[in-house]
Amino acid sequence: MRGLRTLQLGPSRPTRAFKRLGAASLGLLLLLGTAGCGGGGSAPGDAAEQRVIVLGIDGMDHALTRQYMDQGIMPNFSRLEKEGTFNPLGTSAPPLSPVAWSNFITGLDSGGHGIFDFIHRDPETMIPYLSTTRTSPAGRTLTLGNYQLPLSGGDIELMRRGEAFWEVLERNGIESSIIRMPANFPPTGKAHRELSGMGTPDILGNYGTFSFYTSVLFAFSGQSISGGEVYEAWAEDNVVESKLYGPTNPFLIETEKVTTDFTVYLDPDEPIAKLVVGNRNDDGTIDLQEERVLAVGEWSDWVPIEFEPIPTQSLRGIARFYLRSIRPEFELYVTPFNFDPMSPDLPISHPPEYAEELARATGLFYTQGMPEDTQALREEVFTRDEFMAQAQLAGADVRQQYEYVLDQFKASSSPQRLLFYYFGNLDQTSHMMYRVLDPEHPTYDPEIDTKYASVIEDLYRQADEAVGYTLDNMEKDTTLIVMSDHGFASLRRNFSINTWLKEAGYLTVRNPNMSNDPGMFVNIDWARTRAYAVGLNGLYINLEGREPNGIVTAEERPALMQEIADKIVQVIDPATGLPAVGKAYQREKFFKDRGEIEIGPDIVIGFAKGTGGSGKSSLGAVPAEMFEDNTEQWTGDHGMDHEVVPGILLTNRPLKQAAPRLQDLAGAILAEFGIEGFPARPETAEKAQ
């Protein structure tokens, strides 16, 4: 039956003709399929029909939603509330997306699923790493001159532990489609259909690395560009020749990026150009891959890019080009190289061909987990208008795909089924545009921000439209659940935990005069440091036997943790006169689940509303200032105490099992299908004290 459904729904415009053949044979296959199932399978109607749709809207804030509902801006939400329920949904601690979504997926807290932050540190090497996924290169290689040939494949591992709720559904014969679920890369392979979401890297292996080509010499000289690479490129006789830089060539011993040439032909008179992707030959000809005409200020469609590390081997990606300017300066932005869903080099869907099916149905799409290029705006490669345009492109991909996925869900013949679909646009855009809601924000400029005053409201309106579309198109008697992983708040001040630890005598630096600490703990004197911070909310004890240069004994640890927890909540921000930290959670006291608790920080810091962790401190630096105004474009955040940024839970009917917290929601969803007792915790699990 699975193959039958794929045949019915898979082909799209490129293979419309195939669809005609498929349609002709579909009747026969249906007959055969029905006959085949008739003997031993259950007849339709044997199982009680139950359909559940869960819309996950990242970052939808409860208070703001309430406000917009009261203002009549979100009529579909209001309609749902009248029929069902609308409540705040308690989020994770810390309320960071990978943590929160892992709570939702597994029904466990961080102690159980092992995701405590975006960033963890390896206690053996003290190197920070991304928490949700671990990649390892090929184990053995054969060296031939300058080349190395891998003799075994590399590996990519999802680090989230615990059982995903859809595994239980599938085990009970309930069909589940899990689309763009965060913290689910690579996909578990346990749902009927899966497309990985937040946490899916670009083809370079990062969360997203853009390329910016500019003729402005030294435009970013001396600056560290985060999330992107800047390349000089200038026109000679109205022709710009440069390269697209792919991942490191895995076949070369020396570290060298694999590249593909591109050429931009500038119109000598008009603000328009032709982009040609393809390697240039010695005779001036080009091995054409793709060509596009772009006016200045225009975005290209998705352009397939092929990198050839060695002949016969290729890495495929897709990118969109934004021609920012051609005169007086040449400026071209290229999105991160996403996996080509028609032929992804890493598993981004289950079954593997599902990504291709989606691409055929609705076109190529962003496969990277967080497609909105917040870094390009933070680094001022984008203006706010350009960021909004790019974010809208990314959001459009997701909304367009949702219509197809919802149709597919409706067309399924399975009597019991679940669809989860994720929208990340509201979260990412809120991070960058939240100051428009906060005239007290240090960067608020009424002259600029009034222009964008309705941006956040528009995002919520779009979410409401998605709910309205669902209500109009879903089958009767479907349970609709709209939820978010956390809320949002204005981020006015940054607090450096490491600097406070230093001032309070828990951390000692090697060089007190270091002006620009690069992070990675380079300035920490481990022999005289009892506690340190890394990650957005994590505080660790420099524990003997765990950290390589630990000095705190296991016996001293509980008292030290209590002491730090007591002191840090008393820190007052001198600029506001308000506490910087709402609560400090000691892991053994706070987390109920214990299977993976050793991975996590000893203390989770819950910042007060309006305050966030310093970016430098989160990467292991000890900046000079303990407090700073947040002057970045990143003006909205949720990495605060979990009690001040709840998410939302909206349903079209009261759920059979209450879900006051995100962590309870998966159990409540399973209860809709009559499945109790999720998550299954080992009998030996320790209880919270």
Binding site: P14, T15, A17, L21, D237, Y265, I272, K274, V293, A295
Partner: protein
Amino acid sequence: MSILNAILRRLFDVALFPFRELHPLVGLTVVSLVFGVAVLLVYKATSNQEKLATVKRRIHAGIFEIRLFNDNLRAIMRAMGDILRHNANYLRLSAVPLLWMIVPLTLVIAQLQFHYGYQGLAPGDQVLVKVELAEDWTEGARPKFALEVPSGLAIEAGPVWIPSLHEVNWRISAVEWGDYELTLTTPDGPLTKSVRVSDDVVRRSTHRLAPGFVNQLLYPAEDPLPASSPVQSIILSYPAGNAGITGWESEWTWMLVFFILSVVVAFALRKPLNVTI
């Protein structure tokens, strides 16, 4: 050549018309069947069937000799020599019908390529229109060209004038299903180029080229441009592909299918049609 192409275009358009709304495999199977039979008949008519049969018998005899005397090295070597000699003779005899067929085969392939080698445009699709000028076009002089499109198409961007390539480009989009003609207005008069927004199996012309035997042989899907025009080509970049014959998107996939089916048909019918090949 252009008259011949015009006749062939009409012939293939009419012949494939009944299959235009069916899966490409259907029309291609019928074409392959007809082609396989035609090849057999041409082969029969233009080859020396008696001599071919004799040569094949001698080759078989040589193979039989090797199997019979497999313990006699001299006999084996002599038989292998005979087989090689008869094989050369077989190739010589086969070359005659192949020479007869090479011209019609080329014409047929060229026609079929533009029915099965490219995907159609659909409303919403965007595509490049490239106009190439003669090499002796005055360097740097911007051509005073304008592109006009009917209401089923829209110009999205352009023109881009690229002096170093003697090239002007536009990006157009398909708005509605239909068959259209672009009009390129030049100082020497208007030039047209067909655009088909259709997912049917129809003739799609990627190139309209200046007159010339090779140009017309390889790109017969549209009449040549006027010889006096400085425009050397008008190219419309239909997406390469085969309209989903195997799911493998290549403009040449159909040809593989066509050859395999034709060969299968030819071998299957050689005895009923009494043809020695």
